[in-house]
Amino acid sequence: MLHAFFFDSAANQPHSAALWVDGRAYAYGEIEARARRVSSGLASLARAGEARRCLLFAHRSAAAYWGVLGILDAGLAYVPLSPKMPAARIAAIIGQSGAPSMLVDHRCAGMLDDVLPLLENPPRIFLLDEDADHSDRPAAAARLQPLPTAPCKQSRGAVDDIAYVLFTSGSTGVPKGVPITHANADAYINGQLQLHGKVDNARYIQLCELVFDPSVHDMFVCWANGGCLYVPDTVDPLFNADFVNRHRITHWNSVASAAGFMQQMRKLAPGAFPDLRVSLFGGEPLPRSLALAWMRAAPNSRVFHMYGPTEATIACTGFEVSGAFLEDARNTVMPLGWPLPGVEWMIVDAGLEPVAFGDRGELLVAGPQIAGGYLVQDEAGSRRFVERSYPGRHARRWYRSGDVAHATANHGLVFHGRVDRQVKIRGNRVELEEVENVVQACSQGTQCAVIPWPVDEAGRAAGLVAFVVNARGEPERVLQACRRRLPLYAVPQRLVVVDSLPLNANGKIDRMALAGQFASDTMAGRTVDRVAQRVAAHPRA
């Protein structure tokens, strides 16, 4: 079971530090005691027929972590929410989750006033950090209660139970819930323990929010190794360039963009991070120039590029970046690399037939990490999981990643973009159709197209630009309305009102032409656009 990676270490080393957050360290024993209180409280509330899930609305607090562990120990799945999401999205996730209860920390309680009015059937809400200062309790406080105290019962649950549910961007505008079982997560964590030796006195940084699955890696690989998880106040790369050295962090895990920002903010001087031992980058392409700069800044660290969709649990391939690989200037972007333990892959054509070795096609992945399906089964979702047998492969059930790749003999898999219109904005998965739906609704324009812009030499997009025909209302107003419905990273940075959109020979919106036109217009244009292009340009070393 996923939480056993924590509780086993807690039994062995109750006095070591497990968590550092909000300016203080917490020992394994202390977190364990808090988590057991949450777990027995939740278990006493359980009623037959209710979904075995619990919402967790907590942000970078100690309570968030004993919340995760307590929910899992109660035999429930945790469904994390982030205060960085707009209220409408939080409400949509709460509704879809079907969870009867929510745990909230003091930091997030204030946002409940915006969220609760949007819900038809609000869950029971319990305050996690019962000893925090409640002087500025929100109006929703009337609904908040402490968890009931109940005698501790032994752990419940089976490996095929759901451990967590995360929500990804859905092209129709409705977030898609991905339930991951203990068996899925255990397979991943055990693979990591097999690949990476234990580092004594390991200090892992938690950059990723709990609503994204690299956070599961940080928490449970750290705790399985008896390390201490360091949670900075903010994900800001400038803040964390300093935080890493102040706390002598040994394990780094972030999207490539976070390192890219540090490079552009001139924080990757040679030898800048001498304590780092392992650095993982995922979520988007890792360019050679950035990998080189990181290896110089963290000369004692192994560097890995990790790849994997949420549906395949955290990561399913990895590539260890070597000095020799970087020496060859033709290797402009790090490959996806080799399958992690237990993972199988196949590259197929549109008819799901295998392509010849070395040819491009859609990447399928299989193995014990693959999710059982989406929370809400619809036709489009169920097409992503296919039953097939392939020669030389054991798996029968495959997940269609939607990523285009080709296989190489020396560096494993190499990424070539998407079969659909999903993009990564600073490592965050965004379906452009979803953004277009929202922009269309907020602007009431007759036509709308959203493109990633600016895009750097490795194909990474820093943001989005929306083009609308016949928009009603000021662009700034429209974007503000979008901010209330989309996660911040999915909100276009600019909205351009146009008379018409370029069409291709088939009469469809020609997004390539649109991007080209926009790029040439902005070269001569406003400061903001020239600066945005420098953001994407090759950074100074």
Binding site: D236, L238, D242, R526, T527, V528, A532
Partner: protein
């Protein structure tokens, strides 16, 4: 100087609120300054002032407020070789 900073921030920072509603000491981070926004503000300042901000002055605290940005920049403008260069924010 602060007026120029305000115009740079208005154009590049993508804050949640209009810059005019912020005082010189209000937190830009609380107003929604993202890491991407920080980078854009930094590059725009360098372009407008025609200078390069030394790495050690680029810190989280520097971007805390208009006040902290101004006090970081003040010595650079006095010392810098481009001290007499005119402000060139609005090349449209």
């Amino acid at each position: 100087m602060k007026a120029e900073l305000r115009s740079i921030i208005a154009e590049t920072a993508c804050l949640d609120v209009p810059v005019a509603t912020l005082s010189d000491t209000d937190s830009l981070y609380d107003a929604g300054l993202s890491s991407l926004g920080t980078l854009r503000v930094m590059l725009a300042i360098e372009e407008a002032l025609n200078l390069e901000i030394p790495a050690e002055r680029i810190t989280f605290d520097t971007f805390q407020s208009i006040e902290s940005l101004a006090s970081m920049l003040a010595p650079l403008i006095q010392e810098g070789p481009t001290a007499s260069a005119p402000f060139a924010t609005t090349q449209r």
